[in-house]
């Protein structure tokens, strides 16, 4: 029993089944990420005015590394180009070329994820510290030359530290939301390349210590959730493309048209993943 129009398009719709299926699936993904974007917007719009961390729930800015994010965006865009080049190579019957472009696509995907991992790791070692005088600072820790992750006050006590070396963040110009005037001294500090100042804080002065993890602030919650979910889609897409490019390739010999269709459908999913990032990057990194 053969399902009609699995490979050849149906005349009146001009589409083959999998193409209809993938576009429908992408429609549902638009709604999924749309819900996350509305979460982001709502949380941000209702956040109190003022700078974080002075204002406990003010919306933070400038915490994400823009050059790295930009590079990651370029990586993903490149992979979008290469996946469509892979498909067109199939249409031109150039299997080796197809394989080459698939390999680059997958490499880009993995590169994206590796860079993301480093970004995450940096966040997990970045802290907001509440001091006894009521103020809050942010910065990385230096404990015997290492930058520990996920520490809390308890870790300080367990490590029997008397004082804690903190590389305190100096407000840089990126922490001011777009549209805000930036004070002169911040411009100066940024131009001179000062990003943090070293500080030794007695542990007794520290009320609490929390890494930049989802439970620390709604910004981190939505940032990690959206980028993690997007990352899962990158991983899933990469696995499917890897399967098409390197494992399930026998179909190319027996039914090249169906194989090409599969690659096209996989490519459509991949472009959607890129699309989400095209919106996600400016929204969380830049705005």
């Amino acid at each position: 029993m053969e399902i009609p129009y699995a490979v050849k398009p149906r005349p009146d719709t001009g589409l083959y089944n999998a193409k209809v299926g993938i576009w429908l699936f992408l429609a549902s993904e638009v709604m999924l990420f749309g819900a996350f974007f509305s979460t982001y917007i709502l949380l941000r719009v209702q956040a109190p005015h003022g700078f974080w961390p002075e204002v406990a729930l003010g919306w933070p800015h400038g915490l994400l590394n823009i050059p790295i994010g930009t590079f990651n965006t370029a990586v993903l865009i490149t992979s979008s180009v290469t996946v469509v080049m892979a498909w067109i190579a199939l249409k031109q019957n150039e299997f080796a070329r197809f394989r080459k472009f698939m390999a680059i696509t997958i490499a880009c995907a993995l590169g994206f994820l590796v860079i993301k991992t480093f970004e995450y790791k940096e966040k997990f070692g970045h802290y907001v510290i509440q001091l006894a005088d009521g103020s809050r600072i942010t910065g990385h820790l230096d404990v015997q030359g290492k930058s520990p992750l996920f520490w809390t006050k308890k870790n300080l006590e367990d490590a029997k530290l008397e004082s804690l070396k903190v590389l305190e963040d100096i407000p840089n110009k990126f922490r001011f939301p777009v549209g805000h005037a930036i004070p002169e001294d911040v411009h100066k500090a940024h131009a001179e390349g000062h990003h943090h100042k070293d500080r030794e804080i007695p542990v007794s002065d520290i009320v609490s210590l929390k890494a930049f993890i989802p439970s620390t602030h709604p910004f981190f919650a939505i940032y990690f959730t959206m980028t993690f979910l997007h990352g899962l889609h990158v991983l899933g897409g990469a696995l499917v493309l890897f399967y098409f490019g390197f494992i399930g390739t026998r179909l190319w010999k027996t039914n090249p048209e169906q194989f090409t269709n599969r690659v096209e459908v996989g490519g459509l999913f991949w472009h959607f993943v890129d699309l989400v990032w095209i919106f996600l990057f400016p929204v969380v990194y830049l705005l």
């Binding site: 053969e2 399902i3 699995a6 050849k8 398009p9 719709t13 001009g14 589409l15 209809v20 576009w23 429609a27 638009v30 709604m31 749309g34 819900a35 509305s38 917007i41 709502l42 209702q46 406990a56 729930l57 823009i66 930009t70 965006t73 370029a74 865009i77 490149t78 979008s80 180009v81 469509v84 080049m85 067109i88 249409k91 031109q92 019957n93 299997f95 009521g134 939301p177 777009v178 549209g179 005037a181 179909l251 190319w252 010999k253 027996t254 090249p256 048209e257 169906q258 090409t260 490519g267 459509l268 472009h271 890129d274 699309l275 095209i278 919106f279 400016p282 929204v283 830049l286 705005l287």
Partner: protein, 125 residues
């Protein structure tokens, strides 16, 4: 599903797409061009941060405008939406309308609230 009924030799394709004289070279040029445009668009978005706009609304509008242009390029050319069938357009256009409607209605639902009904947030320092 994998029994090949048509006697095409392995690799024999090129007969099923809607345009019969498929100009591969031209299409490939377009893909590279779009890719370049996307990279340029990315750089512009990042640089746009340096410009100081008069209002928050304008800033957001500019950022989203650039992102929408990039998204359009991806949809139109990489995803072939420009040459795709009406059925697909209809589905995606409706979806987009619902997605935007969802975001807009959620956001507007707490504008002009009935006085005294939204919870007062108490900041616990």
């Amino acid at each position: 599903m994998s029994d090949s009924k048509h006697a095409t030799a392995p690799g024999g394709t090129g007969h099923h797409h809607s345009h019969h004289d498929y100009d591969f070279a031209a299409h490939k040029k377009v893909y590279w061009a779009v890719g370049a445009a996307l990279l340029v668009g990315t750089v512009i978005t990042v640089l746009a941060r340096e410009w100081e706009f008069s209002s928050v609304a304008l800033t957001i509008a500019v950022a989203l405008f650039i992102a929408t242009v990039k998204a359009f390029l991806v949809c139109a050319y990489f995803m072939h939406l420009l040459s795709e069938r009406k059925a697909i357009y209809l589905v995606m256009a409706t979806t987009l309308a619902f997605a935007i409607g969802m975001v807009a209605l959620i956001l507007f639902s707490d504008k002009d609230p009935i006085p005294g009904t939204l919870p007062k947030t108490v900041y616990v320092p």
